[in-house]
Symmetry: C2
Subunit: 216 residues, 2 copies
């Protein structure tokens, strides 16, 4: 049974890595759409659909694992953590689609804050990669690094917000563009939060304690 | 076994209704904090902590059900749907906490758009109630109503956004207050989205098809 479980666990790891890569891809796509003004809606929608399908596939795999293998202790935590992680990864796809929707309205916006969006995209892509990596390797230290990296993303959001406020006060930017850009930045900030959630589930799968636990 | 499953399913229903009530409570609390300028941070944090704990309790109940009862077909869908729904309900708690964080900065803001926040809160509370109700009753029609109600919430968000833009253009509102109010409205709009997700899981648990399914 153990070998069978290990085999299915390996499949789960591979599927999660694939889902993570799709998330990294969709984050980069929507950042490019926003910054390089390319119309990548079709690619983004295709990637998001694939992410949604991966969520269902991995969920079914986890349920199969639970029913067939009746895992306990750490094995059970790994599966329940995976079930949670895929919800966060799926949300990353949603956020990217939301950013893609805003992009056309921001094509003509040259607010300096836009450059920070690129930094947010790079940072969140790295966080997603490392959070999945941390799960596959049961690496709590790497998970903690992902949580720390989120501070940078939050700071970038605050920076964009402050710059937009100044621009508005100086009438240097139309109110709609400012609000759309703020929203886009917020979506990237949320993507970082989802990567942090994934990292928190890694911590739970290894230690058995989640930061939301009452006893934590 | 069936009776045992039905008993555990009833417990699951009761726990979900409780978690839903906590979400309704926290939505109302953060709306009151925003509109009536009461400091309800402690109550909101307490409710959010309870929501997080409920998520873990219900998750454990679902895993126990899966492992002990080995459900198939609709029974299995009900449990996997519940596992998904609790993630959305937990997020509602997070969004409410985010709104509570913004509230102090909006205490002195008298933008007319603030009244729509009250409408958004009322609408989302109703959506949460009905989405859980739809799950307990396996009522696909009620789930569809929740999805339809979200249009109203989205329209209220757009209304607030437009009003804020006008105010900014007329220099009638400080840029920071405008952005904080936009964010608060966005959080309520997201709460509506989470209620819609719950309703979509109800539909899946009954029909076996989720809107994200590739074959759908």
């Amino acid at each position: 049974m153990r070998t069978q479980f290990d085999k299915q666990l390996q499949t789960l790891h591979i599927e999660l890595i694939r889902m993570g890569s799709l998330c990294e891809q969709v984050i980069s796509l929507c950042a490019n759409m926003l910054l390089k003004k390319e119309n990548l809606s079709a690619d983004i929608n295709a990637a998001e659909t694939e992410i949604n399908q991966k969520e269902r596939d991995i969920e079914n795999l986890c349920l199969k694992l639970l029913l067939q293998q009746q895992p306990v202790a750490k094995d059970l935590r790994i599966i329940s953590a995976a079930l949670k992680m895929i919800s966060d990864l799926e949300r990353i796809g949603d956020q990217a689609a939301d950013i893609a929707e805003l992009a056309p309205y921001l094509a003509d916006c040259d607010a300096p804050g836009k450059v920070h969006i690129g930094d947010m995209a790079r940072a969140t892509v790295g966080m997603v990669t490392r959070s999945i990596d941390a799960f596959v390797k049961s690496d709590v230290k790497m998970a903690a690094e992902v949580m720390a990296e989120d501070d940078e993303v939050d700071q970038l959001f605050e920076k964009i917000k402050l710059e937009l406020m100044d621009l508005i006060r100086q009438n240097g930017l139309d109110a709609k563009a400012a609000m759309d850009l703020l929203m886009a930045a917020k979506y990237f900030e949320r993507i970082g939060d989802h990567a942090v959630n994934v990292a928190e589930w890694v911590e739970y799968s290894v230690t058995g304690v989640h930061k939301n636990d009452a006893n934590f």
